[in-house]
Amino acid sequence: MNEIRSISAKQVGRDVPRLESRQKVTGRAEYTHNITLPGMLYAKLCRSTVAHGRILSIDVSAARDLPGVHAVYTGETIRTLIAEPYFGPAFHDQPILAIGKVHFVGEPIAVVLAADPYVAAEAAQMIVAEYEELPAVFDEVEAMTSAAIVHETLKPAGTFADLKHLSGKSNTNVALDYQLRRGDTDAAFAAAEHVFEHEFHTQQVMHTPLEPMVSIAEPGDNCLTIYTASQSPSFVCTEIARLFGWRENQVRVKVPYLGGGFGAKLYIKLEALVAAAAMLARRPVKLSLTMEEQFYTITKHASTFRIKSAVNKDGRITARRCEIFWNGGAFADIGPRVTQKSGFTSPGPYDIDNVSVDSYALYTNRPPAGALRGFGIPQLVWAYESHTDLLARGIGMDAVEFRRRNLLREGRPQATGTLMHDAAIIEVLDKTAELMNWTAPFERGEGVIRRGRAIAIGFKAVVAPTTSGAIVNLSADGSAALYMSTVDMGQGSDTAMAQIVAETLGLVAERVKVVHPDTDVTPYDMATLGSRSTFHMGNAVKLASLHALEQLGAMAREVGLPEGTNYEIRDIFLKKYGMQAGNIIGVGSYVPPYTSPQKGTGLSDNVTPFWMVGAAGVELSVDTETGHVTIDRLINVADVGRPLNPAIVATQLSGAAMMQLGFTLFENMDLDHGQVTNASLADYKIPGMHDLPTVMDNVIVDNNQQNGPYGAKGVGETATFGVSPAIANAIEDAVGVRLTSLPLTPESVLRGIRALRGEKLEG
């Protein structure tokens, strides 16, 4: 049956199989990875071997002379095309190819083009560069005061008002200092019953999408078409147009399916380089990074978080002071946004009258850091939930009870002053405790195996304000196509959005066509990031569908069909046009209300349109002879509003939790003077099947996001929040060892156990 209209089945809240799943299980789904164009050249990069240095010379002659090489370009060649070839979403600090100096090991300094990728790779190895090395800085706290300065002057992009004051600043590595001040923390600390202070660290890790970053540019006559594995086609279009001094309509950006993104493929990455190379060579150019090169392209911020809390005798937190240092690496990318947008949630989901936050984005000579599944939130929850457990322990109160006493409730002001609405914080905590049987006795293990359990809860404000647009085309046969620039990178947005169209228009979701991002065709969308699409694009899609419905109603009235009668859509068209002809175009765009935080205090009465809440409950076993930790049970509990597609929501939760499990237990970019020494999947381990906890449950609580499309809100990041601190808290519960730096390796557990026993480990 090829039924288009829905008879009775609800379209929203139904486990619709992914629209593209047939293509994906038969190997026919389109990825940029698979695209080749006639006459296409392959690009390979030559990269810096020093962390910070002035470029003395780049000798490309041998590479240029290798048979089969079409061209070799350096930063100077790019300058013949673009006078100021620097790009970036927050700062224009990233050169297309290095100019004058290099800022990290792995920075691209030259590109080779050849019809055979192996020839291009061989030639790239023949390029010889000489540098005068400069002192480098790698640590985020040292970068605050270091004499090594990564960028001589700061060049904010101008897009963000709160960065403008940094324009032209020199002699600093601070790319943004964000403050929040609420109440009187000094007085509260002075009057406090108990004061606790801790410092936590996270390590640099990488997204490792299985499809490494890839972009292709095809030159035309004063125009370009870019095929790219990007999470933000609209931004690529705007930024390429700006670089070339063109109108946006001279750049066309097309995005097929992505083989994973997780924030790696955001804003602009390889697109500027392939665009410039294609314009210089007058041939299509494809750049496919290897897995190794991804480690030199974008990563997750390492961080240091100093947190101090005052607690009164009733177990209420009365003051909290947060100081966070974000290691942004050599280019700001979106780091300054992470610093601010996540910074204001750093006191945690707690109702605290006196709060002060200082959050710093720092340049260092490491590979750049950007957004990775959580936009900084997992680093924060790691620290504040480890700290919160220590507070409960410190005053001898049960960890769940202590949290319940302090959590924010409906209608209470968050640290910014924004009142909490539709955030099921207490419900998520209670559900987690219930699933863990928290009040029942717990089996603590015997002999060398010791067992522990713990929970952690975090929240996130979606990045605001951002805009999404959508178009719904209703054809004369009653079928619908959705045009939008949300990128389906695996999260299932095509399916979820089709469900919204179907629900609104009374169609069958499986029969709605979703047209993939193409900036010539699909309307603007800020980006597919930060769990924003379900809510923002979902609202735009619903508005576009309602707009189509309204026109359909008008058409029915016009042709004399009485209100409320159950005519097929095609009959209405037939009556109007006398044949199967015409169409209805519904348009919708959505930008939520927002109040900018006040400068200095960071206060705002409307800082976000919605909150995400996620908790993790962990039961684990520690082998006290080896330090090895086995996760016996991981419970992920989330508030996602009303799920549009419960089965897809469950995979988003399990996938996010597993990813965070890797960041918690073993993933770590090893750096030696800025050189990543484990830049390959063989040396940098990501979670495999054997790392899956023995039991993993993914559960949502019942909630309705009132301003969300059909009650829904974002879900992609929620299950990352609680995993790291819940595991660290459970390790302390099991063996009394408190770890304050990620990853929580067997070695660090074992060292902790031995230290407790007064036995020092060698080395």
């Binding site: 199989p17 992914r18 593209e20 799943s21 047939r22 293509q23 994906k24 299980v25 038969t26 190997g27 026919r28 789904a29 990825y31 990875h33 698979n34 080749t36 048979p67 089969g68 050849a114 055979d116 192996y118 020839v119 997204h207 490792t208 999408p209 299985l210 499809e211 490494p212 399916y257 992505l258 083989g259 994973g260 993104g261 997780f262 290897t290 897995m291 990178m489 695996g490 999260q491 299932g492 089965a647 897809i648 995979t651 939760l653 399990s654 996938g655 996010a656 939790a657 597993m658 990813m659 390959s680 999947l681 063989a682 990501i686 495999g688 099947m689 054997h690 899956l692 993993m696 993914n698």
Partner: protein, 170 residues
């Protein structure tokens, strides 16, 4: 341009025989993807770790990024594009494992999916009644960054059960 030696090889891929002159340095994945246009076989790590490039060579799973095309001369190869037709009764439709991946959401971005499917098809052929542990072991060499693996295990176990029930005497 060509670097040195080429050789003529014959591969039977998804039931069709192809004879091609290939450079000896070409990986099997290169030939499948670029010479034969079978882009369903994906390349993730290109050094044998992620399993995205897994294909069946004479019925055994192998990493096409690690094998030279000339080593496969004369072999029967099944790629993701050929899976739907492997078992006679399903010819034309999807393989039950493919259906189960859809139903149990054993995929998200789909980049690892070709390797997961080829690996699990080998498992189910050799062991029609695998335990959950055996499924986990079979795909422990295939990485998925998206799903958290649960849907993949569920899909494999459900397929095994369905296939057993379908072949069990009534």
């Amino acid at each position: 341009m060509s670097w040195g030696e080429s050789r003529t090889i014959t591969l039977t891929v998804n039931g069709t025989s192809y004879t091609r002159e290939v450079e000896v340095r070409f990986h099997l994945a290169d030939v499948l993807r670029h010479e034969l246009g079978l882009t369903g076989t994906h390349l993730g790590c290109e050094h044998g770790v992620c399993g995205a490039c897994t294909v069946l060579i004479n019925g055994r799973s192998a990493r096409s990024c690690l094998m030279l095309a000339v080593q496969a001369d004369g072999a029967e190869i099944t790629t993701i594009e050929g899976i739907a037709d492997i078992d006679g009764p399903h010819a034309g439709g999807l393989h039950p494992l493919q259906e189960a991946f859809r139903e149990f959401h054993g995929l998200q971005c789909g980049f690892c999916t070709p390797g997961m499917l080829t690996t699990l098809i080998e498992l189910l052929r050799d062991n029609p009644a695998p335990t959950e542990e055996e499924v986990r072991i079979a795909i422990s060499g295939n990485l998925c960054r998206c799903t958290g693996y649960q849907g993949i295990v569920d899909a494999a176990l459900a397929t095994a059960k369905n296939l057993r029930e379908a072949t069990a005497p009534a």
